[in-house]
């Protein structure tokens, strides 16, 4: 790391640094100008005082924060459980869809039907059907907790998407890799588990994380079943005080929750791109 630099290299490095500083400065300046313009446009609008009172009331925000946070904790728990369920079910369905041979025809057909059904159905309708329909059957052992039912609906719908992501990954692994595995005497299952899936999962990690971000906010939809999550808590507070600020609080908290995941997704995608470039 302690190479003596030639004057030429030193001069070039200095030039690159000055260019980088200039770029940062320009970016900063243009951001400030745009932000100021938007700020002025919004605060000069005729309805602004009204909006400020009903949507951005600091007192209301402060008062609703504890209950909304408590609700968010439910969202986070649902998110974690749902995500795990989705990954397992999605992977399973993707693998079932790649099975060859006539014996597996019904399995393949079922898996395909599952994907068609749950990828097509709007999440809200799935939530209603499972959240209200399932308990109405009054069967033994069916959960009645709305958060659990919401979680089930999320898993069913999202695993259909995630299965397709996994399947695309599996099919993107070149057939020569399968041939190499088979020529070594590995069975279909062994080649899938040891050779194809590890490569496939690596490749689909960025789109998977993107689906995870989408799931994060869709977790808020379980509020339609009556589960007291962040959105429901905000709704209760808003209905009591006729002030919409708690919704803004809940919205901001969801955004805060999504930012780290988004950054991780970016980093993973960048790493994947670098790897591709290296090959």
């Amino acid at each position: 790391m302690t190479h003596a630099l030639s004057p030429l290299a030193r001069e070039r490095r200095a030039y690159r640094r000055s260019r980088a500083r200039r770029s940062t400065l320009v970016a900063l300046l243009s951001t400030v100008v745009v932000a100021a313009a938007i700020g002025v446009a919004v605060t000069q609008s005729p309805g602004w005082p009204r909006v400020q009172v009903t949507f951005l009331d600091p007192a209301s925000a402060w008062r609703s924060l504890p209950t909304v946070l408590e609700g968010l904790w439910l969202n986070v728990r649902v998110l974690v459980v749902a995500e795990l369920g989705i990954l397992v079910l999605g992977l399973l369905i993707a693998v079932l869809r790649t099975l060859r041979g006539p014996v597996f025809f019904p399995v393949r057909a079922l898996a395909t039907g599952y994907v068609d059904l749950f990828r097509g159905i709007p999440l809200l309708i799935a939530l209603y059907l499972i959240g209200f329909g399932l308990p109405a059957l009054r069967l033994q052992g069916i959960p009645t907790d709305t958060a659990v039912l919401g979680c089930v609906a999320l898993i069913l719908v999202y695993s259909a998407y995630v299965a397709e992501v996994f399947r695309a990954g599996i099919e993107s692994v070149h057939p020569s890799q399968r041939a190499a595995a088979r020529s070594l005497g590995l069975t279909h299952r062994q080649s899938m588990r040891l050779v194809v899936l590890p490569q496939a999962v690596r490749r689909v990690l960025p789109p998977l994380l993107n689906d995870f971000v989408a799931l994060q906010k869709d977790c808020g939809l379980i509020s339609v079943l009556g589960a007291v999550d962040a959105i429901r808590a905000a709704q209760i507070d808003a209905a009591r005080t006729f002030n919409f600020t708690p919704y803004v609080v809940a919205g901001l908290l969801f955004v805060l929750l999504a930012i780290p995941t988004g950054r991780i997704a970016d980093a993973v995608a960048a790493r994947a791109a670098r790897r591709q470039g290296a090959q």
């Binding site: 890799q177 041939a179 190499a180 590995l186």
Partner: protein
């Protein structure tokens, strides 16, 4: 020729392979005796890779038989996986597993297919890496290795399963000229060690040095076959002469 009669490891009889309407292999007969090296030569597209893939049961044959130690392994009732376990193939494009280190690539099949103890498989893999001159590369991933190094790992991976028959498919044709030598030296070593080998190559000089028999493939048929000195040095068939003249012009007969 005498011991070839005595013990045939591989006996290909009237092999036919079609892709759609084109017949790539049109009745091939090839026999490989124990500890023999048989080399298949022929123009690009003459079906050398297809032949090797059929022998390794990676492609289904349309007609004919493939006998491994006298057992017809091309029979759909035969245990293909068991037959594949007794052969190993090295591909033109290496096909190492990119998510595994060199040593894991080599020890995978011994571990999961042949149920060798993981520690022992690892030791054996390190041994093999040493044999192919790659000490110190055990934990390198394939994308960090040069083409020649990757191909040497691929050879080690094939040898790790102690195959009865080793198939080599133009293992140097994806390599820069200066990397070819290091790979061929290893094959020579393996051949001298008594391995039974069926290989396809464009390296005529190498074929001459290691082969017991050379088979010239043309238009899906065996056009000419025999000892390397005769097929490469004094071919009788005009197609063979034509092919060799082209190869010499391209500088491959060294």
């Amino acid at each position: 020729m005498k011991e070839q009669q005595a013990e045939l490891v591989l006996d290909v009889r009237g092999l036919v392979k079609r892709y759609g309407t084109t017949t790539v292999l049109d009745g091939i007969d090839i026999a490989v005796g124990a500890h023999q090296v048989v080399t298949v030569i022929g123009a690009s597209g003459s079906g050398k890779s297809t032949l090797l893939r059929c022998v390794d049961l990676l492609d289904e044959v349309d007609d004919g038989q493939i006998l491994l130690d006298g057992v017809d392994i091309s029979d759909p009732r035969a245990d293909a996986a068991a037959a594949q376990r007794r052969m190993a193939i090295v591909f033109q494009a290496f096909n190492l597993f990119p998510h595994m280190t060199a040593v894991d690539n080599i020890s995978l099949a011994p571990r999961v297919v042949h149920k060798v103890d993981p520690g022992e498989a690892h030791e054996k893999a390190l041994d093999l890496l040493h044999r192919v001159g790659l000490d110190g590369f055990a934990d390198a991933y394939p994308d960090r290795l040069s083409g020649g190094q990757q191909q040497r790992v691929a050879i080690a991976r094939a040898l790790a399963v102690r195959p009865r028959l080793l198939l080599l498919d133009e293992i140097t044709s994806a390599l820069d000229p200066e990397l070819v030598g290091e790979v061929l030296a290893i094959v020579k070593e393996v051949a001298r060690g008594g391995m039974t080998i069926l290989m396809a190559t464009h390296e005529m000089g190498f074929a001459k040095q290691v082969s017991d028999q050379v088979v010239f493939l043309d238009e899906g048929k065996v056009c000419e076959s025999g000892p390397p000195e005769r097929v490469l040095g004094d071919p009788t068939h005009p197609r063979t002469r034509q092919f060799l003249a082209r190869v010499i012009a391209a500088g491959w007969l060294t």
